[in-house]
């Protein structure tokens, strides 16, 4: 479970990105975070994997307050949260298999387990047959599937994504959403910031709308609600 209480974030340059956020996200929920550009969506996402610390307020994730989390405990948090970005963040010199295995190798998982888990998630995202390909030999949608595979290979309870379909054409975007739904069906919480009106209005889920650092709308099975 994720719970934010009175979260404020002022960046060092004085920009107030979050202006009193209160929200509760239960385990297994699927949440869209929408809002105009510069509203604070990415900042909201960054709070959850401790990329940024709140200026004040508390962020509880499974009973741990990230506002007071020591730096040396951040790796433990990150091992239990999958993060996905618009730009995939794959390593170009590693194959698909190696990119996914990387996430487990650097947390010193045993080689036998790594092989098993990597093949499992590659199967899940439908890229088992391209395990030996390099990222630049894949389409954007395939690359994003690799990055999703990497984010879930350690079986996190929470997956957060910042505009995961931002760089993809509609076909590929639907493919990505299918994978997210599969992951969500297994009980994983999904929090996804997006500008994709079509997706939000078709695959109906909870919608949190942020404007000027405040939550202005929070509906179960909501609409995108902005004209783009």
């Amino acid at each position: 479970m994720i719970e934010m209480k009175d979260v404020y974030k002022t960046y060092p340059n004085g920009v107030i990105a979050l202006n009193g956020i209160n929200v509760r996200i239960k385990q297994g929920e699927f949440v869209y975070v929408v809002g105009p550009s510069g509203a604070g969506k990415s900042t909201f996402i960054k709070m959850m994997y401790r990329e940024e610390k709140p200026t004040s307020g508390s962020i509880m994730i499974n009973g741990v307050n990230l506002a007071h989390l020591k730096d040396n405990k951040v790796p433990i948090l990150r091992r239990n949260i999958g993060v996905i970005f618009q730009d995939f963040k794959l390593l170009p010199k590693l194959t698909v298999y190696e990119n996914v295995a990387f996430a487990l190798e650097v947390i010193e998982e045993s080689p036998r387990l790594i092989k098993k888990k990597v093949m499992e998630v590659l199967d899940l995202v439908g890229l088992k047959h391209k395990a030996r390909f390099y990222p630049d030999e894949l389409s954007g949608g395939e690359q994003q599937r690799v990055s999703i595979a990497r984010s879930i290979v350690n079986s996190p309870k929470i997956v957060i994504a910042d505009e995961p379909t931002g760089n993809l054409d509609p076909d590929n975007s639907w493919g990505i959403m299918e994978i997210f739904e599969t992951i969500n069906d297994r009980g994983t919480t999904i929090v996804m910031a997006t500008h994709n009106r079509e997706i939000v209005n078709t695959i109906k889920k909870r919608v949190i709308a942020i404007e000027s650092g405040k939550i202005v709308r929070d509906e179960a099975r909501g609409e995108y609600g902005y004209e783009v």
């Binding site: 040396n72 948090l77 650097v106 350690n154």
Partner: protein, 299 residues
């Protein structure tokens, strides 16, 4: 901190890969260490040999106490006791004027025979040859002995000794200062190189942090890379200095006939220098690397 064998192997592999990947950067930093250690090595060799010469000379420094011609046997005994009582004095040896004359004649070789004339009426003095416990105390001891009764005059290579010690001291300090300066330059260069390496691998590091690798884990390959760069930078200086020193020692040393101008023997001196250079190289590399990594991982 226990580390899995697999993890260590991975860190090794990563560090070597990075060395291979950053071809010319690697070359640049190894060169920086090479140049530095070459200079440091030469300095060390010179300094140790200078020290060696100095200690030889220092040990050779003696005080010659010329005894008054009028002194009786009793006066001489009293003077000897007095000199021996000086705390800085190690040993006192008596050399009669007949002995002195013989030494003088001997030191002149062929031409010395003309001094034979003096054998009937020896104008030289009897002498006490005094050695100080510490070479640096020579002057102090000599000054004290000068004041004693029955002393005609005291000689200890006045000025020379003091000047020698002063010069050696200054040379040592300049050498040390230069070495420290060079070391810092090399460390700075390495840290800059590693910074570029880190920059080239920033995406990898970003992902490592994202998926929950610890800072310790992230640091290891860079630590090793720095170590390799430093150690590899030490190879050429070690080989080069050893070769040159070996040749100088084998061919030049036998020609140096002045007793105190003897070079330190190749073995074990060169082993020690080699180990010092190797350790120094490793330290430069690791330290330079850690400087960059620390700054990078703080954010």
């Amino acid at each position: 901190m226990a580390m899995r064998f697999n993890t260590l192997r991975r860190h090794m592999r990563e560090s070597f890969k990075s060395i291979g990947r950053n071809g010319w950067m690697t070359f640049a930093s190894i060169s920086a260490v090479t140049v530095t250690l070459l200079l440091v090595g030469v300095f060390l060799v010179i300094m140790f040999n200078m020290n060696h010469f100095a200690s030889k000379i220092e040990n050779d420094v003696e005080i010659r106490v010329y005894i008054d011609l009028t002194a009786t046997e009793q006066d001489k005994q009293a003077l000897k006791a007095q000199i021996e009582a000086v705390p800085e004095v190690k040993e006192v040896e008596y050399s009669s004027k007949e002995q002195e004359l013989k030494n003088l004649i001997k030191s002149f070789g062929e031409e010395g025979s003309s001094f034979r004339l003096f054998e009937q009426d020896n104008p030289l003095s009897d002498v006490y040859v005094v050695k100080a416990k510490q070479p640096e105390d020579t002057v102090k001891a000599a000054k004290k002995i000068e004041t004693f009764k029955s002393v005609h005059k005291v000689k200890y290579g006045q000025g020379q000794v003091e000047k020698l010690f002063k010069t050696l001291g200054i040379a040592r300090n300049i050498g040390l200062g230069l070495i420290i300066g060079l070391l810092f330059t090399a460390m700075f260069l390495i840290s800059n190189t590693i910074k570029i390496t880190i920059f080239a691998r920033r995406r990898e590091i970003e992902i490592m942090r994202l998926v929950g690798a610890t800072n310790g884990f992230i640091r290891w390959p860079f630590f090793l890379e720095g170590l390799w760069l430093g150690v590899m930078g030490a190879i050429i200086p070690i080989v080069l200095i050893s070769l040159v020193y070996y040749n100088i020692y084998e061919f030049a040393n036998p020609k140096l006939t002045v007793p105190f101008l003897q070079l330190l023997p190749f073995h074990p001196f060169m082993w020690k220098i080699s180990i010092v250079l190797l350790v120094l190289g490793g330290c430069i590399g690791v330290w330079g690397s850690m400087m960059s990594v620390r700054r990078f991982l703080k954010a």
